[in-house]
Subunit: 362 residues, 4 copies
Amino acid sequence: MTATLPLESQTTATRTDRIPVAVLGATGSVGQRFIQLLENHPWFRLHEVVASERSAGKTYGDAADWRLDSLLPRDASKLIVKDLGAGLESRLLFSGLDSSVAGEAEEEYANRGCAVISNSRNHRMDDDVPLLIPEINADHVGAIEVQRKRRLGYIVTNPNCSVMGLAMVLAPLERAFGVDKVQVTTMQAISGAGYAGVASYAILDNVIPFIGGGEEDKIEKEPRKILGKWDGAHHIDAQMTISAQVNRVPTIDGHLMTISVKLRDHASVEDVRAAIESFSGEPQALGLPFAPKHPLHYIDAPDRPQPRLDRDRERGMAVSVGRLRPCNVLDLRMVALVHNTIRGAAGAAILNAELLQARGLL
Amino acid sequence: MTATLPLESQTTATRTDRIPVAVLGATGSVGQRFIQLLENHPWFRLHEVVASERSAGKTYGDAADWRLDSLLPRDASKLIVKDLGAGLESRLLFSGLDSSVAGEAEEEYANRGCAVISNSRNHRMDDDVPLLIPEINADHVGAIEVQRKRRLGYIVTNPNCSVMGLAMVLAPLERAFGVDKVQVTTMQAISGAGYAGVASYAILDNVIPFIGGGEEDKIEKEPRKILGKWDGAHHIDAQMTISAQVNRVPTIDGHLMTISVKLRDHASVEDVRAAIESFSGEPQALGLPFAPKHPLHYIDAPDRPQPRLDRDRERGMAVSVGRLRPCNVLDLRMVALVHNTIRGAAGAAILNAELLQARGLL
Amino acid sequence: MTATLPLESQTTATRTDRIPVAVLGATGSVGQRFIQLLENHPWFRLHEVVASERSAGKTYGDAADWRLDSLLPRDASKLIVKDLGAGLESRLLFSGLDSSVAGEAEEEYANRGCAVISNSRNHRMDDDVPLLIPEINADHVGAIEVQRKRRLGYIVTNPNCSVMGLAMVLAPLERAFGVDKVQVTTMQAISGAGYAGVASYAILDNVIPFIGGGEEDKIEKEPRKILGKWDGAHHIDAQMTISAQVNRVPTIDGHLMTISVKLRDHASVEDVRAAIESFSGEPQALGLPFAPKHPLHYIDAPDRPQPRLDRDRERGMAVSVGRLRPCNVLDLRMVALVHNTIRGAAGAAILNAELLQARGLL
Amino acid sequence: MTATLPLESQTTATRTDRIPVAVLGATGSVGQRFIQLLENHPWFRLHEVVASERSAGKTYGDAADWRLDSLLPRDASKLIVKDLGAGLESRLLFSGLDSSVAGEAEEEYANRGCAVISNSRNHRMDDDVPLLIPEINADHVGAIEVQRKRRLGYIVTNPNCSVMGLAMVLAPLERAFGVDKVQVTTMQAISGAGYAGVASYAILDNVIPFIGGGEEDKIEKEPRKILGKWDGAHHIDAQMTISAQVNRVPTIDGHLMTISVKLRDHASVEDVRAAIESFSGEPQALGLPFAPKHPLHYIDAPDRPQPRLDRDRERGMAVSVGRLRPCNVLDLRMVALVHNTIRGAAGAAILNAELLQARGLL
């Protein structure tokens, strides 16, 4: 793919110059976000939509029960949904597949030579699959080379939606001071469970102190891989201990979390705040289309960030932080917020693909 | 008062035998709970209602904007609201006063010889004022004797609504194993702020990671007094360190909290669970009218307790606990729930008064 | 059944004297309400629980994902769930079956000789099946005699949850003045759709102006049968025209509705209010256990009834009315509220069974 | 003002060319929407912010408790808040004043020569004040000429937020077929009451069937003036009868309403739908900056419009309609939705000012 679509041609890309892409699991909640976010993308062009047998053969407009508050893009609505497993013309695939089918399907397409940019959890912890947050570990794309020894294409993943918020906050702390221990309690929005995932009877006037699918386990493990190193052959986890308690709350979008950390080196509140505010990475340096100007927004108000007021900062791609202050038990505590279906899912995958394109890996 | 209303006479009390009581701050949210909970109380009889100048002189039915989902008791509705500071016939006063006025008003009535059972924060940390949870520190009523050296009557307080849930859970752990460190994140219901306290525009589809009035400070300090000792002359704090992060969530009633604890002695999950399940205290031994049979309900389901489903256990007087499991950072973690306006406020004060009556201190 | 359990024996019934009953569809939302409401019923005793194949063979405690805010009754939790269609020992069945299976299953059990007291919509409009609200049309039980000519047992139904509120309000107006035209807009709680019926993503911060399953059609037709006559051989509809617009709103329980009516005879606001306040029927006269003292509560406050504050009046069995005033387009308008899963579903069916028992028809 | 800022110059206006404007009541909920919507307006430039004495002298950033989900514009945050009644440099004023002070203050500024574009209710029904919806009654600006006979400047108003939705839907029906009778039930968002207007304790898990300030009266009267005629000297009301029942529901933004209408001339569903879909007016013809391309969006789905999904169509300036079908009691019924704080308030006022500018009346 690289040969036919070099980066330099993209900035002035006309419609047909843009890289044709397919979305797997296109009718689901993450899939719909992909469709929404890819509209008018300067580098990528939605070319194919793939879903389960039930939807295959219908137009996307008929198959998708569109639930977002922007209108379904007209071009997308006319695409005929292809069956999962069918041959595709696109070589770049965004996967919002449910984890019950993502494992095999993503492998199959990667084996056939596609670049599969996945939001699913199935392959995140595979040793030769990057668990990528471009601001933090862009060099983990080195794993692709190893992965390609066993298949024609490759899989690249982004983390769990809550992990995205947590890892982004921990990254400047780990770099500057070392992170030893982390306590995190999440208050997660209902959209994280998909459209039908949380019954209103279960969550109205309520909080559910549990999220299935190993949510706490992911939050305790994925940041260690993300903040760890790729040594050229293997991933080496960062040496930090995380304890997570998760909750579902009646908010639409935006995962809020309280965080306490113990650092390896001493750092004052001012030191840590400076590290957070100055945090930047390769997406910012490269000016990738989906990169937020500031990956972390520190908000000074005493009662922020708040999901409804702050989740959409930088089109949902920035993580917000506030209330940084000393912790009686560990060293410091704070509050963080991530838009779970944009920065924590579809937007993350698109930024990953942009990094790959900028690096000539597509 | 003790002379005229000994405990033994109460169990067969006719209407006029019951102790006449006044509710201060009767039109507010805690005050309304007092009115609701005192209806048909076997020992106490609502005799006077006291509120601000604005309400004074009206019938309670006219003055109170009744917001509870049971009907306003007919007898209460006909009482004429008295002005705060006015002379009262009752010697037993329940105070749901706002902290802006509670400090002076409660002192004044205590100086005049009344027993003021207060839910307000103003006098909780006074050295000769019991911060009472009868299941935990019934012996702290010893402070009343000291307090009476400086005034005719006395003040007894119950803790902050979140502290009630936390201290109840920590009590059996402190007794059996010693508690060293505690991390707690609360998700607090809107009723905790009073009826007009949280605007719907602020909280719908949202979480606010802040509660004013020093909420986190109270949660970090009050349990130390409650779980500490009364040595006959002074309160001696328990030696534990608590770090609290508080949040307001869109639930009506019921404060949920995630808790991680480090114990002084080793204890397995089974040990701690056994301590929680067997926890009981003087209200249970005495069979006080408002005492829950089991102060702590351990719930086995993986996703409980939940505010809407569990807040009303034992008429809102029991605290629920679940998800007890090891913590990667401290020793153990769990989830707890307290009904903030019953066990965490008006119901707590009534149970305090019942203990005082049973001990002959009224 | 009548022979073995005559009414007079019931009032002093010991546990084993009570009529054994089965609940069909016991694990669903209406089924759970049946289980909850039947606990400690003076005349009926839960003996069998019936659900789909998936649950059959399990204990009810294991099969039911209990969602109500009272605890699952201990006796019920130990019952082994029977498969729908299995032979039953009970002759009195309460059906909360989904309409996809209720049609055939209820007929089958009625053919076998059971009294099927159904909340499902399938047989409501059958000419020889009573659509019963005991306060309004107790004499419609006459249809049972006709029905029994074609089967051993019989089916009796209660109306749709919104219809329950509407018909109860229209009944005194129809009796006293005649009802010509009705405009009704409903705002229905999520519990009306069953536990998983409304996704939180669909309804949080939202209103859905549509309810499937022919909701508007039911509201326009069922009241005509209920308020009509049973002439000994057939049902004859009341001659009124109803136009309904339905909405789903984010409330847990309680269907609120705005109603405008055109009467046949002139009536002042005072006349109509008097008719509403004096409304009473056979359940009140007989003192049936589930009968509210006053079927209709008129509330004087300018902003009532409200779902959260008024739905539980008389344990959820009373319908509340307020804001009665002239209408510019028709004659009068008002607001009404019904607890949709108690008076509008399980409680309605139990009251129907009580009427049948009192009349010696069980 | 017209002389110095003719329409043709606006399209290429540089920053300083734009008309300087003041916002009255700038810290309130409507005021904040004005600030938000005026950012980057091509014709108008925010120059002054005016609020009550309490805020005067502070920067707007300090005085306003900013509650919108976009960031407070930097330029606005630095403006010093002026005291209501102070002399202003701007001649064009947008008023989001509370009705308790709007009456006198708006008159005062109009008397001084300002064009006061008001969202407040106080002067809406004054005979020489246009109650303006530019798509419907642009010619009502003729009243300004009469008004100017008694004062230097003038007041122009937009209707109540619910009336905006209703009048927009009725306009094409009135034009094509004549409207005789209207029944409307509204389900209004909490933002309509201002930020602190609806307590969360009052509305969570609830619906309130009442809105103060004469809401129903406004809905019954304002459309008659809007859809009526300006005969050169007086407003003449349209001859239609409206009956409104209003409700507050727990949605953030977007007033939804069910409507039934009786037309004067016969019209089929198709006729009415065609009238709705082809509806357009002077803002569309003139291409005013805030004009929606289509003032009315007819949505074909059976369960739309919905507040969360449809309120932001055309940046909140379009009204959505759906479920058009015959009514059993009147002729036709339907559902409509208006964004209450954009099209129903601040956006409406800005569109009014654009019309005045385009017509050379500023």
